[in-house]
């Protein structure tokens, strides 16, 4: 029981405290400012005696009964404007617009606005309209109609220039000034738009005309297509109708045509039967007559062709064999000739080599022989010259002795020369035996003596011409011919009598 009482008292106290706190704690909404008055409070920028607190965006404790709390809305406000103005061009216009404003967020603006509008917040728009109407006239008076319509920068600049300071006094901020409508009694704006409207109207008419033309062209083309389609359809329908009529006519003629066709079929079949009959007969003839004849002819022709082919093959084989033999022979001959030529060439080369070697050897031998012969001839010539010189000297001294010596030296040759006379005799008849034989040999030897006589004459002439001293001694030179006697010599020389009989 006691505990319950205590708990109830505590709860009541808590509730009481909460209620008291709620009564003392005030919170400013984001879009409002609390103006707290009733206590001495010095605020920067506010004169003494006008002390009040401005609270925004937070809570604060107030003393109920001692301090008064008032709210000033910081929301956006707007004021409609409807003002008759004159532009910088002197053109009267009626301007309808809207101005959007609010209380400034800084403490000074809130304080200024609170002093002016705290009890007249609902009248704030009317007040601003009344203030702003005069400003709007000055703003419009500094602008042309075209600038009002198009140049927003210029409009806002003029608005700030005309009303900015004034709004500061009221603690307000002009967020926006919008010209919604410009009524033009003089028709300036209409005339301003007339050229553009005319150009647009012209373009619209041109576009409409072009569109109409295109539409007309399309329509006419469509009509032409439709007419073409109609024509084609008519032509096709006529064609189909003609086909239908033809089919109907054929249908009407179908009976006679069928009869004629059946008759024609009968004729055709009969013709085919006749043709088949003729064909059968022809086949029969073919089988009975022509085929055997053809077989015999084929046999004969085949045999003849086989014989002919055999003969041709034999002839061709023989010709081929002959050709091959000839070719082989030719090859053999060619190879033999080539071998012979090679051998001949080798033999010729060897012979030429041997001949050349032999010739060189013979030339060397001949050269050596010639050199030796020349040397020998030279020595012989020198010896003969010496001998001739000696003989000449000897002849000069003793001719007979020289001649005798010559005869003695050459006697075998003299006898051989005499015997040569019998060399050409095939049959010799000796008439008188040994005497004839001796006489024969004597005569033959006398022919050798003839040369001795000639030698004697030569020596005599040499003595007559070459020995002047012999001429001085009156020796006679020269021979007197065959059978001549010996000439008289100088003292010491002897004449050898030689019998020179004529050769028989």
């Amino acid at each position: 029981m006691l505990i319950g009482t205590i708990a109830g008292v505590v709860a009541a106290a808590v509730i009481l405290l909460i209620v008291l706190f709620k009564m003392c704690w005030r919170v400013a909404e984001p879009n409002e400012a609390l103006i707290i008055s009733g206590s001495k409070h010095r605020t920067e920028g506010l004169a003494e005696g006008l002390g009040f607190r401005v609270v925004t965006g937070r809570g604060t404790l107030v003393t109920p009964g001692i301090q008064t709390v008032r709210k000033l809305s910081l929301d956006l406000n707007e004021a409609d404007l409807d003002v008759e103005c004159v532009t910088s061009q002197g053109i009267p216009v009626q301007v309808k617009g809207v101005v959007i404003f609010k209380v400034g967020d800084d403490t000074v603006s809130i304080a200024n606005a609170a002093r002016r509008f705290l009890d007249q917040q609902k009248m704030m728009g009317q007040r601003v309209h009344n203030v702003f109407a005069g400003h709007l006239r000055s703003i419009v008076g500094g602008l042309t109609v075209e600038e009002m319509i198009r140049d927003r920068e210029r409009l806002t600049g003029e608005t700030r220039a005309a009303s900015g300071t004034e709004m500061e006094k009221l603690g307000l901020i002009i967020d926006s000034l919008q010209i919604q409508e410009i009524l033009d009694p003089t028709g300036y704006i209409k005339n301003l738009a007339a050229p553009h409207a005319a150009a647009v109207q012209r373009d619209a008419r041109i576009a409409a005309a072009a569109a109409d033309r295109e539409a007309t062209e399309a329509e006419q083309e469509a009509f032409a297509r439709k007419a073409e389609a109609t024509r084609n359809s008519g032509i096709q329908q006529a064609g189909y109708q003609a086909e239908m009529d033809t089919a109907a006519a054929r249908a009407l003629q179908a009976g006679p045509l069928a009869q004629a066709a059946s008759r024609q079929e009968v004729v055709v079949q009969e013709t085919k039967v006749a043709e088949l009959e003729g064909h059968r007969k022809e086949q029969q003839l073919q089988a009975e007559v022509r085929k055997p004849a053809d077989a015999r002819a084929y046999e004969t022709r085949t045999k003849a062709e086989a014989d002919r082919d055999a003969r041709i093959s034999a002839a061709e084989a023989q010709a081929r064999e002959t050709e091959l033999k000839a070719a082989a022979e030719a090859n053999r001959v060619k190879i033999a000739a080539l071998a012979e030529a090679e051998a001949t060439k080798a033999r010729g080369l060897a012979s030429a080599e041997s001949t050349r070697a032999t010739g060189q050897a013979e030339a060397a031998a001949a050269e050596a022989k010639g050199l030796a012969a020349a040397e020998a001839a030279k020595a012989l010539g020198l010896a003969e010259a010496e001998a001739i010189k000696a003989r000449a000297a000897a002849l000069a001294e003793n001719q007979e002795a020289v001649v005798a010596q010559q005869l003695a030296e050459h006697w075998p040759e003299i006898v051989r020369a005499g015997a040569e006379a019998f060399g050409n005799v095939e049959h010799m008849v000796l008439l008188n035996g040994a005497d004839g034989m001796g006489e024969m040999f004597a005569k033959a030897l006398t022919m050798g003596g003839t040369g001795l006589g000639l030698a004697r004459q030569l020596l005599g002439s040499m003595n007559g011409t070459a020995a002047p001293e012999a001429a001085d001694h009156g020796a006679t030179g020269g021979a007197s011919g065959t059978g001549g006697t010996g000439a008289t010599q100088k003292s010491g020389t002897h004449t050898i009598p030689v019998q020179g009989d004529p050769i028989v």
Partner: protein
Amino acid sequence: MIGYTGRVTGKVGAGLVGEVMVQVPERQGSEAFLAYLALPGDPLPVGTPIVVVEYQPPRTVYIAPAIG
């Protein structure tokens, strides 16, 4: 307010009442202020970054270009 930065939203120049949007951290937002040139010079076109040189309550600032 002095030293805060913003940008030109209405042309600022001699003989004009311009407008700038300046970020105010205390009030967690950007606000529009009437703007004049702190020093005579070329007009500042829309979009030019600026810095607040002087503040005249409640809504007037004197500005200079933040760049150059």
